[in-house]
């Protein structure tokens, strides 16, 4: 373009639109809770994005410092209120590592079954809400909730409450499962793949979804590792890091299951990796139901600690227990000074740390994409703000 007139046109580009400062604020239909993003827009393009948190901050960690070890357990349900049992699992592991309590065989199997059922719930609800952010008028969410109800009814029979289960105890689980538990889990495991096929038929090859989600919010491998991203978001970027396979905590070493890995690291990969992970969880559940032995569900020391919590002696020292929660690596760093209360109780929340890369993924994208990128990271504000 060598014509002079257009030369000076470029310098003073008269067509730039006015910078728009929008705060996608705490009251916004799709921030999955009270989370605020101060976004600077040029037209529809995002130039800068600053997350603002703390609206749901209850100072969970200070609270736990004057609770007994057992009394902290019901509070862990409230961290990531979609997967209460995964939080219980991680906290119970950390305390057992600190206090050196063994867990009987049957309890290990029950814990794995409960954790994998929670993973199913978390992933279908996420897929539903991600589609809701994309604009599908509640249909995927209600299909997901139809399946979730079956699982929540099962939880109510076993643990007593649908979402706030408080089922794990140090050294096992609170109560044995009802007799028809194995039958119901087997029925869910047989029927769930059919539901997943129907959901995939509705969504996975839908051209509008493909064009909306592919190459949007790309998370490169190096940045993902450096920013400490864990869980399906990391695996969607191509790194097969799954704590169930790395640490082989509890009895995950005995189960044969695969870890799906994406390669582009965009919103579509994060969506589809979660669907494949659900299918893998079903494999684990299948093997766990077939091999579950009989026997006691809580060790002698555990039962005694549950009945009389004062008698639980946790020696001085610190321990860091971590598990593969549906959202990523959920770790508990506990320091005990020998008294009946934790001296320091720190939660390494996956949603909180996965948010570090939100700005890097959103720069240059459109407003509509910012919402689905946030949705694909899958944050729950109970865990982010603690």
């Amino acid at each position: 373009m060598n014509c002079p007139y257009l030369q000076n046109m470029d310098q003073q580009s008269t067509l730039d639109t006015q910078r728009l400062e929008v705060s996608l604020g705490p009251q916004h239909p799709s921030t999955h809770g009270v989370f605020q993003m101060d976004v600077v827009l040029d037209g529809e393009q995002v130039i800068r994005l600053k997350p603002v948190m703390g609206y749901l901050h209850r100072n969970h960690e200070k609270l736990m410092e004057n609770m007994s070890w057992l009394a902290c357990m019901p509070y862990t349900d409230r961290l990531d209120y979609f997967c209460a049992l995964a939080n219980n699992f991680s906290y119970a592991l950390a305390v057992e590592k600190l206090a050196g309590i063994e867990v009987p065989e049957r309890a290990q199997y029950l814990r794995v079954i409960m954790a994998e059922l929670t993973r199913l719930i978390n992933h279908i609800v996420l897929v539903g809400f991600l589609l809701n952010d994309l604009g599908a008028f509640f249909t995927p969410v209600l299909y997901a909730f139809r399946e979730r109800e079956k699982l929540l009814d099962l939880f109510e029979d076993v643990t007593g409450s649908r979402m706030m289960c408080n089922y794990f105890r140090f050294g096992g689980v609170k109560r044995d499962v009802p007799p028809d538990f194995i039958l119901r889990v087997r029925e869910i495991v047989n029927q769930f793949p059919k539901f997943l096929d129907e959901l995939e038929e509705l969504l996975t090859h839908n051209e509008i979804l493909l064009s909306r989600c592919q190459n949007v919010g790309i998370l490169p491998k190096a940045l993902a590792v450096n920013a400490g991203i864990t869980g399906p978001v990391l695996r969607a970027s191509g790194i097969p890091y799954d704590i169930r396979k790395i640490d082989k905590y509890s009895i995950y070493g005995r189960f044969k299951f695969r870890v799906p890995v994406g390669e582009a690291g965009d919103v579509y990969d994060r969506y589809y990796v979660r669907i494949l992970e659900m299918r893998e969880s079903l494999q684990i559940l299948e093997q766990a139901i077939n091999e579950i032995p009989d026997g006691e569900v809580i060790s002698k020391a555990g039962a005694q600690a549950a009945k009389m919590p004062r008698t639980l002696k946790v020696p001085k020292g610190d321990a860091y227990g971590r598990t593969e929660a549906p959202k990523g690596e959920l770790g508990f760093y506990l320091v005990s000074d020998g008294s009946g209360k934790p001296y320091r109780y720190h939660v390494r929340a996956p949603s909180f740390i996965n948010l570090t890369v939100l700005e890097d993924m959103c720069i240059g994208q459109k407003v509509a994409d910012v919402i689905i990128i946030l949705g694909s990271i899958d944050i729950v504000l109970g865990e982010v703000d603690r």
Binding site: K62, V225, D318, G331, R344
Partner: protein
Amino acid sequence: MKTIEEIKQAIETKFGVQISIENNSLLIPKEKWPEIASFLKTDPEYSFDYLSSVTGTDYKDYLEVVYHLYSMGRECGPLVIKIRTDRNAAQIPSVVSIWRSAEFQEREAYDLLGIHFEGHPDLRRIFMWEGFVGHPLRKDYVTEDQDRKI
């Protein structure tokens, strides 16, 4: 993975600094911490490329920050590093430039415990609002106790 003693020897020989081992974790003086951190991350022998969690703790007479390091490349277990600083002028060099995952967690430690991380790109309170006074997670942080009257 190499044992704690080997890592201690390697760091001591390389940086000539006194390190002690305290129940399976390295106690490193805070001056040399950024160099040791980048050494642990870049050295192919260790390649601790994943900083899992940064925790601040208040031990009455000093503040301590605990780092849990993992290696995703070599899939090996946690290397626990503790750094101590005194209570009032709590200063620790930040490692955000080395591990980006420390960004939010160091801001949280600053907000709740008042540990100042120099070198942190954007050290603001992350949970509390700007005008908040005090650091809740400190043991001497006392709020007025609204006891319920029955």
